[in-house]
Subunit: 148 residues, 4 copies
């Protein structure tokens, strides 16, 4: 797969990384997430808020919104098929999400210098309203996603 890095273009690499990661991502799959798109430094995902995602206030648990954003972050920061892990994340909750809401997360790379990346992930609902803003810091570690 490391050889592939030098021959595949960025888009093919991002898709190969997505396929390898999503296949074994039990958590994202069990939460019903879908990967809508990937590209070099970018990803978007979707998740519908289920009853078992509600908290004690009757709204979507912050951890579920975070999970969607964090998965989207992972697909974006691993999109170059270099293994990267989350070091630190900040999430700001803007508007509650309700059962049945279809949440979309969109990740973009703000900065990638050496092994350190910064990614912004916006989570919005079906009406296009902002639900949360997430900023994740990643660290590239040895190995590729698809093998190596």
């Amino acid at each position: 797969m490391n050889d592939a890095n030098t021959t595949m273009d960025g888009q093919a690499l991002a898709e190969a990384a997505r396929d390898a990661m999503f296949e074994s991502d039990h958590c994202s799959k069990s939460l019903g997430m879908e990967v809508l798109s990937v590209a070099a430094g970018r990803a978007s995902m979707r998740m519908t808020v289920r009853r078992d995602m509600l908290n004690g206030h009757g709204t979507c648990h912050g951890g579920m919104i975070f999970s969607l954003a964090d998965s989207c972050f992972a697909f974006a920061c691993n999109s170059r098929n270099q293994r990267a892990v989350a070091m630190s994340c900040v999430i700001d909750f803007i508007k509650p999400a309700r059962e049945g809401d279809v949440l979309t997360a969109a990740a973009r790379e703000v900065s990638l210098v050496g092994r350190n990346g910064i990614y912004d992930i916006a989570v919005s609902n079906g009406d296009g309203e902002q639900v949360a803003q997430f900023r994740g810091k990643s660290l590239v570690i040895p190995g590729s996603v698809g093998g190596g």
Copy 2:
């Protein structure tokens, strides 16, 4: 329940808030979380990492660790039976968690001035090693947890 706030002591209030919140917290229950203890401004919880909590790197998904910390934060910041919501959270991942790890979260109130609270939640594994540090900012909103 608001009358109760003036007659119950802090411990009874925290336990009443816990009972009212946990009962309807579908998410925390579906993730197998248990509330170990609550007190005024404090809470501790436990969760075992299941296979369906693993991410594409084969370790516990950051969103699951966040969810445990966030639930613990909610029990701590609602422990005075004044409804409070999470505004913003920061999580730093220190050590990966593995399938079968029993994670414990412990929340303490750092500051509560007016309606704004700051809470620190430490997540550790069964060997007492730090897995993550979480800092949550809460806002008290009208209403009580148990009614009102």
Copy 3:
């Protein structure tokens, strides 16, 4: 000045707020900052790294980079001439700044819902390289900047 809010357009309002604030902003002036531009929800500023801004490692003190970003944040979040204060800020340091570097900060509004705003401020050096990324959360409080 509150009457002015209803008759001035956004640009005039932002400039009036800037003039009123910068005049009494002893700190930003003593650090040699200049306001390059303001608009509704936006601002940009500039500061040259002086010898008295260096830390014990011989590079620009993180607090000076933060100060530039924080001032820029203040001009952006007060640009509608409603008084707003910083609640919480996150800064990620990407590249060190050196004595003589001319730093530019650019702030944009990510979200403004009710009284709560989120602003991103990018700090770059004279070569256009990213030095830091800053995210600030503001709260609108009673009063205007220019009076009230």
Copy 4:
């Protein structure tokens, strides 16, 4: 100085690092900061809010409070005489500071695993009230503070 690391005890090492760093820390000195104490993983500092530290709202500029916390963070994370730099910092502002207020910052090490440290710095005023809470993430880089 590296040899010293193996022979000096933790306290002597922290003091040697402090002396080496503070001597060349033009910024902290120009802001009138004093180092009150250092120890392995800890530091405390003091600064009086001057007129030239006030912002456009007439209170202490957030960047000055941040600078005090950030310097204190630096003395704590360099206290083992391994050079460490700030990667990312979060500050929550709790109560405004006024001209003449004597601010004290106290840093403690929350976690140090491999090259990554987490430090909490509490800033309080002369009445012992919390002014801000700061959490800094550091990275150990090659070299010592006092020399090579």
